[in-house]
Each structure stands twice: as C-alpha cells, then as structure tokens.
Assembly symmetry: C2
Homo-oligomer: 173 residues x 2
C-alpha cells in the first residue's frame, strides 16, 4: 500500500502539481468534473515507439512513449492538432542500475527499466473530452485507474504546451 501511495505521489509530481482537492468537488453529480479514461486501451504494448524519456529526482523513472497507428501517422506527418482516435501511451518503469551490465562494462554506468510504476494514456476525442483540450487523460497503477482527484492536475499541466497540442513528447527519429 505504501508503494502505491508513493507511486501516486510520483504521478502527481510528474504533472508538476500536487493539488489538495476538497472532497466536495468529487461528487459524481458534479457536471464540471472532467471525464477521465478508466479502461486501458487494448493492444497498447504492441504500439510503435514515439520516444523515450527519463525523469530524475523523486520520480526516478525511465519510460517509453508509444503511439497507436493514428498517433504515429500524425507524429510522422507533423500533423497538429492530433486527429480524433490518436492515443499516446507512456510506459513508466523505475530507473534502476543494472548490476549485470555494470559488471561487464567495468563501471557503474548502466540503468535499465525496473518494475513498472505506471502507464499513462492520452486519448484524443475532441467531442468527448472537449472540456480538457480534446484529450482524455488516464493513469493506471498496477492495472487500476488512479483516483479522479489525482487526475485533476493532468489537463492544467499539459495545457501549458498548447503549441504541440498539449503533448510533451516529441518524435525520436
């Protein structure tokens, strides 16, 4: 449980903002509550690579960012905004030293993907997710969606990179 809590804090820190939301704002009948993605898009582990990333500090994660066919095509064509149907997946793992590799290399230099920390998705649907820039956001930890409260920071943070249609990751050739 402690691990899950730590991961949740990490997710919030990824968004750059830890919000302390009053429980009152979480009422299911609050029509202003953003809609979040609560089901893992099928087949995401077979999607193609967009790029890789490393978050140092407390997050201490290494990740791969993958895209479904719609997303990959838009990336490669430089098409903005991303068309409806585009889904971007960020697979995050612990950034852990590899004793096996370092032994062979003869020095401490190698970091590999440790246990998964979370998987995040951005799903483009300009109608369904109109309130959050056309993107539905999702974070899954151990296969379960993060709380709605923790997800409230996604849009304000991503909304700071409007020039790339709210997407941080650039395509790696």
């Amino acid at each position: 449980m402690k691990r899950i809590t730590l991961l949740l804090v990490a997710v919030l820190m990824l968004a750059g903002i830890i919000t302390f939301t009053a429980p009152a704002s979480l009422h299911a009948d609050d029509s202003a509550t953003p809609i979040f993605v609560t089901k893992i898009p099928p087949g995401y582990r077979d999607w193609r690579l967009i790029s890789v990333s490393h978050e140092a500090g407390n997050l201490n994660s290494i990740g791969a960012v993958l895209g479904n066919d719609v997303a990959i095509q838009a990336y490669r064509e430089g098409k903005l905004p991303y068309p409806d149907g585009a889904i971007i997946a960020a697979l995050h793992y612990g950034h852990v030293p590899s004793a096996e590799n370092n032994k062979v290399f003869g020095q401490a230099q190698s970091f590999v993907a440790g246990p998964p920390t979370n998987i995040q998705f951005m799903v483009k649907d300009s109608t369904k997710y109109a309130a959050t820039g056309g993107w539905g956001f999702a974070t899954f930890i151990d296969g379960k969606p993060a709380t709605a409260a923790s997800m409230k920071s996604c849009f304000p943070c991503h909304n700071q990179v409007k020039a790339s249609d709210l997407v941080f990751t650039h395509y790696a050739p």
Copy 2:
C-alpha cells in the same frame, strides 16, 4: 567529423573495451575475421518495444530496444536461445535535459531523447554468424556502418552474458 569520432569512441565504450587492433588483422582475406551486418534491417523503426535503457557517464545516452516479430515472440515466451531470424535493434539518442518540460515541472528533472547517436543491431543466424555465438552485430552512425575494427569488441563483450544468449536487454512488461 569530430562528432563522428566521439560517437565511435562512445560505441567502443559501450562495449566496455577499446581495442587497438593492428591494421594487419583487418585484411579482407583473413578468414578468421568475424562477419558483421552492414545493411540496416528494413522496417526496424516500426518494430515493437522490448525495453528502454540509459547509459550514464561518457556515453550519456538514452535508448529504446526494439525487436522484430521473431524476437518479440521469443522474448514474450522466454524462448532461449533466440531462434534464427530474430533481430534486436537498439536506438540510441543523446540523453539531454528538456528545458521545455523542466519549465512546466518547475524543476530540472526531465531528460529526453536528443539527436541520434547510433543504431545497433543483433541479427540471429546460427549458421552465418556461427563464429560469434550465432549473432551478427551491427552499429550504424548517421546511417553508415561502423568500421570492422570498432566492431571486434561486440562479441567478446556480449559473450559475457551467455545465460541470456548474449543479449543484455530484458523484456519490460
């Protein structure tokens, strides 16, 4: 040219060994010379993700390791040794800080894929590459194969991880 030289040194350091090979050993008629892969396997950029990696120190690279269908299937089934036809690609990029992300996060924590440094391949063909554990090795820098001299360190280094059929990278879920 200086950049290429630096990258080449980086490749050698990745292997953990910088060998100083006498030109005499590079004669084309030297039948003991290992065979290296000199053509980039087509379509590799569309292959599926095996894992991600980060080499600190002088290499300072972040990478994605991808596999063709044969390699991915073997990884997922835990099949060792890898069957003939398996190809593993390591796409390496500079490990560079992202000013754009750090500005949003409010702290220096984010590293992304910078310019490509090299692409490396391992091609399994137990007959053709029998002299090097059944694997053909390749390094491409700016689309061009690295020198045969620089490639001589691949096999001795990879041969130190016999338990995983000479493959360093483990599958990330």
